[in-house]
Symmetry: C2
């Protein structure tokens, strides 16, 4: 059966479109951090929407499930097959159009995010989604996981940046929703179904993305902050006073210390309980830096921050950002740990940090808490590491996970702010998501994919 | 049957919660422009989410269909019952919470938009959705129709302004999605189902809305523009140069002349083919006006505009806006006419205006064309009036409608940018929407509302 399917697909897609040798498959079956390992009868690499439609229809007819894959940068295993046919979108990598007047760019699913950034910049426009894996992550995957990143506080998540979608449905039909319209109220907004669906409702093949005027002025600052309450008050103050806030990240002392130690980054305020990393941007050259300086001075005199430094060069701005971006690399070598991707309403961030610390220490008194992330969106990557690397002491992974997630949910938050569910968060999803929502999701899934062809182990499982 | 249902609902909701007398029902059965007249066995006015759930469950059990109604300001008849039970949300009018740090406001469905504006302003925040009917339109209706208005170019449509939704499903269950989170990737984003669904998938009972820092500076300008191409080039230039564009409307000469004549408004540039109305805003007091002045001077020297005037007072800014807002009142007394709500990609606005004029004049040589609207979003309210009021000549309504819509669709546009489908655009919807999309919508509708209880004549019909 699989062999007949392979032959049919190979006949249509040609030798560049199919692969079954272990060497070619290997990098597609391994999650980049090594946390998920997969298997597949074969991989298909269609080069056009019609070829994707052919693949999906053939698989559906053969009863073979499909796992779509973009840049293989997902963090919850949703892109790794476990027996499904692996559908790589990497050959669909054309930018079909860039229009600065429409403020729209049409990219195929396999286009890498950094290529979208470059094409936008060439048209003097900005595509604002920005995250660590932007050199590998693809548009199809970013849409399918509703990616977030560091500029959500100003521009929203991927869902907010999509004008139109072209997708192949689970029966092989093509959904033609690739419009660059700002307004279209002709019925249900079907493109929303595919955004954040983790490949369970179809295969995104292309998208029309929102562009913005390219800001000509940037200013990046680090602030030393003693209390989480002050960090959130600072966020509110800077957002309101400047109207120009584009990123607001926090890093607790442990997160920076590990990054300094293990990656060699510089921490401008090593003694501060928190460092807030602030980025502002504006259309025009003049005025942004004085506005930010004034706001930071006022914040310091109000005791929202103890000290602040504004980057004096592009190089210094990059150094500030490197401290933040290397936190993951910074704590990776520190032994046993659990990581998370929680969110709470922004005003609840201080309560979260206080309550989570108490709960974590009740489970594991000597735990090292690495708390950092997108505080401007209420999104923390809250990581708990064992007291000492290689201590050999028992590491109560499950109980720590529960402690971290219970408090997020109790504060009206989410157990997966931007990474999605995939397979890694399936049990958390079933534990924390209300039954009503799960039932509604299943109703939608059954309506669109009645034969459960699309990424069937992921999300709803 | 209806009588038993009425008795059961009256017993639960009390005398304030039900009405069947013609005098009370009358204003709810008449569309405000008199274009749709309805009928209903009775109206229910639940005062809480639990009461809404009771009503929907009771109606579903009795097989009685429901039409939800907010402020009765809809323009396509979706809120007017024709035999359905009328469910008015007007008693659910509490603002449950305003949080300036979360930048979130929780309002029940019956809260009027202007009340949300006022509550936001009291917290020094902005809720940016703004449209002519804001003194009557309610949050539930604005969500159910994915309302647009004049600030979409900066803040997006209602869909972009909703953080969470509470809704009653067609079986009477309550969907608890009333979160104020900026990020939550735990499965399908179910709230999207209810936004723009025109009451066909459930009853929105409350929503968490996004707030923004309240801009302290505003600048409003009118520009005289000779060609539609120049208007769009001006839009692009002002958007890019200022980074502060909050509204960009255009009005052709006919639209302004009728408004001057019939409403008594002042037109700053009566001879101009188009007037572009521009609003900019910024967080801080200083700098906005000089930035706009500089941009407009540059635009004039580039021949994108012939002349421009910046409002020197709040009063003058209001006068500029009044010319735009009274255009509907301006052409209403001008005899037979068709109106539309088309959108095209922004860059296609000039092509639309040229091609539509040719097509309209081919159908009705002396037609007067009233072209105005949200050019910044590619959304035009393109109206065609008979050559002379009361001429008695045949007015080829259907052929004009087709001409106006055919061209929008041919240019990749929409036949209903912001008003929705309701009943008024049902035949256009079936004519222009692709079969694939309609099939997908029906699949979703059947999955969520298998008994077709919710607003069954509307949208999918």
């Amino acid at each position: 059966m699989q062999s007949a399917l392979y032959d049919a697909l190979a006949a249509r897609l040609g030798p560049k479109g199919v692969a079954a040798d272990p060497q070619t498959l290997a990098p597609h079956l391994e999650e980049w951090r090594g946390r998920h390992h997969g298997r597949t009868p074969f991989m298909v690499m269609p080069a056009s929407t019609d070829e994707v439609a052919f693949v999906v229809r053939a698989c559906a007819d053969a009863g073979a499930a499909i796992t779509p894959q973009g840049g293989n940068t997902g963090l919850v295993g949703g892109q790794i097959p476990d027996g499904e046919v692996l559908l790589s979108l990497k050959r669909m990598n054309a930018i079909r159009a860039v229009d600065a007047v429409d403020d729209a760019l049409i990219a195929e699913a396999g286009v890498v995010l950094s290529a979208v950034h470059e094409a936008s910049a060439r048209a003097d426009r900005l595509f604002p989604l920005s995250l660590a894996s932007q050199g590998s992550a693809t548009i199809g995957g970013l849409i399918s996981t509703n990616a977030g990143g560091v500029h959500v506080v100003r521009y929203g998540m991927m869902r907010d940046l999509v004008l139109g979608i072209e997708a192949v449905l689970p029966n092989g039909d093509i959904f033609h929703g690739l419009k660059s319209l700002r307004k279209d109220n002709t019925g249900y907004d079907l493109k929303q179904l595919f955004i954040g669906a983790e490949g369970t409702l179809g295969v995104v093949t292309a998208a029309a993305l929102k562009l913005f005027p390219r800001p000509r002025a940037h200013a990046v600052a680090c602030c030393a902050v003693e209390r989480a309450e002050d960090a959130i008050a600072l966020l509110h103050f800077i957002k309101s006073e400047t109207g120009a806030l584009a990123a607001f990240e926090i890093m607790n002392r442990e997160s920076r210390a590990m990054t300094v130690r293990n990656v060699g980054r510089r921490d401008p305020f090593p003694d501060a309980a928190y460092v807030a990393l602030i980025e502002c941007e504006a259309a025009g050259e003049d005025g942004l830096r004085p506005v930010l300086e004034r706001a930071l001075s006022a914040a310091i005199s109000e005791n929202l921050a103890q000290d602040a430094v504004i980057a004096q060069s592009e190089r210094e701005a990059q150094d500030f950002w490197a401290l933040r971006e290397d936190i993951s690399a910074g704590h990776k070598p520190e032994g046993e740990q659990i990581s998370s991707d929680v969110s709470v309403p922004v005003s609840k961030v201080p309560a979260y940090l206080a309550e989570a610390e108490t709960a974590v220490r009740a489970v594991l008194p000597g735990a090292r808490i690495v708390a950092f992330g997108h505080a401007g969106d209420g999104n923390l990557h809250y990581t708990v590491a064992e007291a000492r690397k290689g201590s050999g002491a028992a590491f109560p992974r499950e109980r720590l996970n529960e402690a971290v997630h219970d408090i997020a949910v109790r504060l009206g938050g989410s157990i997966s702010a931007e990474h999605g569910i995939g397979v890694a968060r399936r049990s958390d999803f079933e534990r924390y998501k209300d039954a009503q929502s799960i039932a509604l999701m299943r109703a939608v899934k059954t309506a669109i994919d009645p034969r459960n062809i699309m990424n069937p182990r992921v999300l709803l499982g």
